[in-house]
């Protein structure tokens, strides 16, 4: 047996803990039976509902927390280095933690799923298998995101000289949920924005328009969640490789971004055409660039090494050091250029300026994030970057609008009504910000230069 899985079973699913969990579950299911004894349809429908809730609470919420804690507890208990020194393969470590850390949560959750399936079968509920697959995939997705967020938190904390905290994982989960909600709400299920879209994931009915044809919403939802769960597990595995001092070639991350672009773009292909698909894809990939910029450890030594090896043409050594936002920046640029060129088959379209403005502002924002995070106190960098972007878009945009309406506003945001102004302003700001960021990183300093050079 995988030693990491076995150790987690010893700790998480000891006979005593299983016995206590069994007692609690018996009380819950017993209470459901007692409360519904007068129900003419019997207790099974209620048990099915309670089972679904038990699965959500145990496998999704408790399980996600347990998966993240399987890393954070090691940090807090000072056993993480001991684990990093093991001979376990990254994949064994990943699944050992993912399913071992949440083993008791899975055991409890699966009793709920079993109740739900039994109730569904007795009530001849249609689409039961699809629902079960969806719920299982969502549980795996949340647990893998939690594990990945913890691993990202550990890497960031190490680079920033602070202790990894659970709040980082929680924040990552909330942001992930909001982004998921946003994507699902805006493109997938046409149910509006924000949490409405997130709710649509649970209640999807009818048909989904994707890839030029209509699909059963329930089946589409199950397949999509399964694919995302697989990507989340792969992501956790890649992050685990880094923690175990192995190097990652920049292959899986770009592959995921392309998948993401295809997934998001597929929702508008039939109704709005190929160009719109590319535009939606570029939007989602651009959002990933922001996420990557914040998830990357604030380590200017690493960036300096990347620049040094890349400048020398030593791609073998530069590739594993590639900053994570670079791939989404390049892919988003290609997609947005493609989106504007697709209708005419030429890049020389009137919309080229608008495409360029979008990319210029993305470039500027990544520069702002780099500038804020690569300072002498990187632990404050994330917050500073959020504030700086908020000021640029919020306050700057408001002032610009007040002064010159759309023309003024276009100075601070990529607006379609004044694309060339946006392009020129975005490029100028990006240039200024990146010059400052490069100076702060010491991009031209050789790797042999002390880390503190340049100091500010």
């Amino acid at each position: 047996m995988n030693p990491e899985f076995q150790r987690n079973l010893w700790l998480e699913a000891s006979p005593r803990r299983i016995a206590w969990a069994g007692v609690v579950l018996l009380l819950i299911y017993g209470a459901a039976i007692t409360l519904t004894r007068s129900n003419p349809y019997g207790a099974l429908p209620a048990l099915g509902g309670v089972g679904a809730v038990v699965f959500v609470v145990c496998a999704m919420i408790w399980g996600a927390r347990a998966s993240g804690n399987s890393i954070l507890t090691e940090i807090a208990d000072r056993t993480w280095d001991f684990q990093r020194l093991s001979a376990l393969k990254p994949w064994a470590m990943t699944w050992g933690k993912l399913f071992g850390g949440a083993s008791l949560a899975w055991l409890c959750g699966l009793t709920g799923l079993l109740m739900m399936v039994i109730a569904g079968l007795s009530g001849r509920v249609t689409g039961l298998a699809t629902t079960a697959v969806f719920m299982l995939a969502l549980a795996v997705l949340l647990q893998a995101i939690s594990l990945g967020a913890a691993l990202i938190g550990v890497r960031k904390a190490r680079a920033e000289g602070r202790t990894a905290r659970a709040s980082g994982v929680l924040g990552g989960l909330i942001i992930g949920a909001i982004l998921l909600s946003w994507v699902a709400g805006s493109a997938g299920f046409q149910r509006g924005m924000g949490t409405e879209g997130f709710g649509a994931l649970f209640t999807a009915n009818g048909l989904v328009d994707w890839g030029g044809r209509l699909w059963s919403a329930a089946a589409f939802r199950a397949v999509a969640l399964t694919l995302f769960a697989a990507w989340a597990v792969i992501g956790a595995w890649r992050l685990m490789r880094l923690e175990l001092q192995m190097q990652n070639a920049p292959v899986i991350w770009p592959a995921f971004l392309i998948f993401l672009a295809i997934f998001a773009g597929g929702f508008v292909l039939r109704t709005q055409g190929f160009a719109a698909s590319l535009a939606v894809g570029s939007l989602v990939v651009a959002l990933s660039a922001y996420a990557a910029a914040f998830a990357e450890p604030a380590d200017r030594v690493r960036i300096r090494q990347f620049a040094h090896f890349a400048a020398k043409g030593d791609l073998a050594r530069a590739a594993p050091l590639t900053p994570a936002p670079l791939a989404p920046l390049l892919i988003a640029t290609l997609l947005v250029l493609g989106a504007f060129a697709a209708p005419t088959g030429s890049l020389m379209t009137p919309e080229l300026g608008q495409a360029g403005a979008l990319i210029a502002f993305l470039l500027r924002d990544l520069g702002v994030i780099a500038l804020c995070r690569m300072g002498e106190r990187p632990q404050r960098g994330d917050f500073s970057a959020v504030v700086a972007l908020g000021l640029l878009y919020g306050v700057g945009g408001s002032i610009g609008w007040a002064v010159g309406q759309e023309t003024g506003g276009a100075l601070f945001a990529p607006l379609a009504n004044a694309p060339l102004i946006s392009l020129a302003s975005g490029l100028a700001q990006a240039a200024v910000v990146w010059v400052l960021a490069a100076k702060r990183i010491g991009i031209n300093a050789p790797p042999s230069a002390p880390a503190s050079v340049p100091a500010t």
């Binding site: 150790r7 280095d81 001991f82 001092q245 030594v301 042999s448």
Partner: protein
């Protein structure tokens, strides 16, 4: 042809995001040595040990441990070494047996050989009678022993210990010294970092001083008990014969060097002062003075500081 060193550190530079911790550190450690890595707090000892353990990658330079590059084959290095950090943790809810079983299995031992390795490791640190106790129930000293047992259960070739005696009482320190001597006697290469010289005295055969992230003094020098290199004695002979080296060699004693009117002799490991003196006289040598040389780690440290 000389054998390759067990640890070869070449020009290691390590940068934290805002500060440089190591400035081109280079040294080698031969197989079987017990190296005391000394230096004040904040000198860079822990950072260097973490790089040697392939837990952190140097910004520049190269580290070869047991023939493996820490950057090129970090997992191979992990399997070849045992590393005990200064602030270690244990799985307090696991029994000692399960903690050791996990350590052995996670370091690549097969299920078949694990139970025996667990028993052996427990016996080495005298925890055999506590195998079924929870780790959390052990005293500070016993936890230290368990942590060391976890690092040696897979029989590593290199053992890296960072401030291993911190917080231990005198009795536990003595037990730790005995254990390190036993492991060194079995051929393990050991690097022990500390800023307290006295605790390294009993078992170190070599010393490396680190200061401000760089090697201070003359690199790796002989130091400490010297037990593994035999007994050193300063002897003055009245009317020394011309064939002194040959006559000494005939009784198994090496003439290391001349020191004024004295010569420094090296007798085999385990040699007794009195027995050596008797053998010298028995060989017809007129001994005028006889003084065993005991160069303490502090002597070596101060000598290196003065360089």
């Amino acid at each position: 042809m000389t054998a390759a060193p067990m640890i070869d550190v070449r020009g290691v530079v390590y940068d934290y995001p805002t500060a440089r911790a190591l400035h081109g550190v280079s040294f080698t450690v031969e197989a079987g040595a017990v190296l005391a890595m000394v230096g004040p707090n904040g000198a860079g000892k822990t950072t260097l040990l973490r790089c040697m353990a392939a837990l952190d990658n140097p910004t520049e330079g190269e580290i070869i441990v047991a023939g493996l590059d820490t950057r090129g084959d970090p997992r191979g290095v992990h399997a070849a070494i045992g590393y005990l950090p200064d602030f270690f943790g244990l799985y307090e809810e696991l029994s000692v047996r399960r903690a050791l079983t996990y350590a052995a299995r996670s370091r690549g031992m097969s299920p078949g050989e694990t139970p025996r390795a667990v028993e052996e490791a427990a016996a080495r640190v005298q925890l055999t009678d506590r195998l079924e106790m929870r780790a959390g129930e052990l005293s500070r000293g016993l936890k230290q022993r368990l942590a060391i047992a976890q690092t040696i259960v897979h029989r590593p070739r290199v053992l890296l210990l960072d401030e291993p005696a911190a917080g231990l009482d005198p009795e536990a320190r003595r037990a730790l010294s005995d254990l390190i001597l036993r492991l060194a006697g079995e051929g393990m290469t050991i690097v022990v970092s500390s800023h307290i010289l006295a605790e390294l005295e009993d078992y170190s055969t070599r010393m490396l001083m680190i200061r401000d992230g760089a090697v201070a003094g003359g690199g790796v020098v002989a130091a400490g008990s010297g037990a593994r290199h035999g007994l050193q004695v300063a002897v003055a002979f009245a009317d020394p014969p011309q064939d002194l080296p040959e006559r000494l060699a005939a009784i198994g004693v090496t003439l290391e060097r001349h020191d004024g009117e004295e010569v420094v002799l090296l007798a085999p490991e385990g040699e007794d002062d009195a027995a050596l003196l008797a053998r010298l006289i028995g060989a017809g040598l007129k001994v005028r003075s006889f003084q065993p040389v005991r160069r303490t780690l502090e002597d070596a440290y101060l000598a290196e500081v003065a360089r």
